[in-house]
């Protein structure tokens, strides 16, 4: 299984609908400071429900995840996976957050069919993608692993054992 495509719309610094194709193997991403590289990682975490808003550097919950560049009040990300079977079956996970009169709504979907976050997590788990996994290493995580206490470091093994 591999990521085939990212669709990012009005999420953080992605002011308008952006499609990023991905291929198997080794993809490197480069660009100046503040251009949006880490935000691409955040968009994957967002769509798959793998991290809190705070982990995505948003101090005010999901509100700060909506792009400030437009007057639109929603953000949407879809991750499309290729299941690597003979016929190139796809499975997509998407999420939309929207401003509502009472706050914000967060709606998940698998293959465009609405699901709960719990359902999304249990589906992802079948493919070995989990919130406390080590497949997504964010900027600063390595330094944290160096600087944390030895007790904290051991607890990471507790968590994955």
């Amino acid at each position: 299984m591999h990521i085939k495509r990212l669709e990012i719309d009005n999420f953080k610094s992605f002011a308008n609908k952006t499609e990023i194709p991905f291929l198997e193997g080794f993809t490197a991403i480069g660009g100046i400071n503040g251009s949006g590289k880490s935000n691409i990682i955040d968009s994957i975490l967002f769509a798959l429900g793998l991290a809190s808003a705070r982990t995505m550097r948003s101090e005010k919950g999901v509100a700060d995840l909506i792009s400030t560049h437009n007057q639109r009040n929603e953000a949407y990300v879809k991750v499309v996976f290729d299941l690597d079977d003979e016929i190139g079956t796809e499975i997509s996970f998407s999420r939309r957050v929207k401003k509502t009169p009472s706050g914000y709504s967060s709606t998940y979907a698998i293959n465009d069919k609405i699901q709960t976050q719990t359902q999304v997590h249990s589906e992802l788990e079948k493919y070995q993608i989990t919130p406390n996994g080590y497949n997504i290493i964010m900027q600063g995580d390595v330094v944290e692993l160096v600087n944390c206490s030895s007790i904290e470091r051991r607890k990471r093994i507790d968590d994955i054992a």
Binding site: G25, I29, K37, H69, Q128, R154
Partner: protein
Amino acid sequence: KKETFLKAFHEVNRHFSEIFTELTDGVGKLVLENPENPFLGGLTVEGQQKDKKKQKLAGMSGGEKTLMALSLVFAFQRYMPSPFYALDEVDAALDGFNVERISKMIATQSKLTQFVVISQRSQMFDRADRMIGVTQMGKGITKISGIKLQNSENSAENNQNPDK
């Protein structure tokens, strides 16, 4: 569940030692501060770079600590494999030669699994299959500026980043 912990610990330790040696030609291992009662102590790392004396994490250089931590991250990844990996600037403290070693390891692993790697270091891009350029249009709006296919080391001149 001490047994579950120790089973995981030994497997992670095995991966850690292999990876550390592949990256440094040295010898490294994870150390439980309290081996009989693991939950009463922490976890630290002991490494011995090629030709150097054994040293604990605290006394190592910035780059040596990063190599330790990266070896541990990669060990966790081999313990619980995933269909794709995303690494965001894990090479910040490394010298150019060590960035090359990490890049080589990723290139090898990427034959089986998808890797997406963000970096500011030219040596990381040298072995990538392709590069996605991320730029800002006015006002901080992200623009994906292009996807360059590479045949190792010959797309450097195309790139506008001065590190290349």
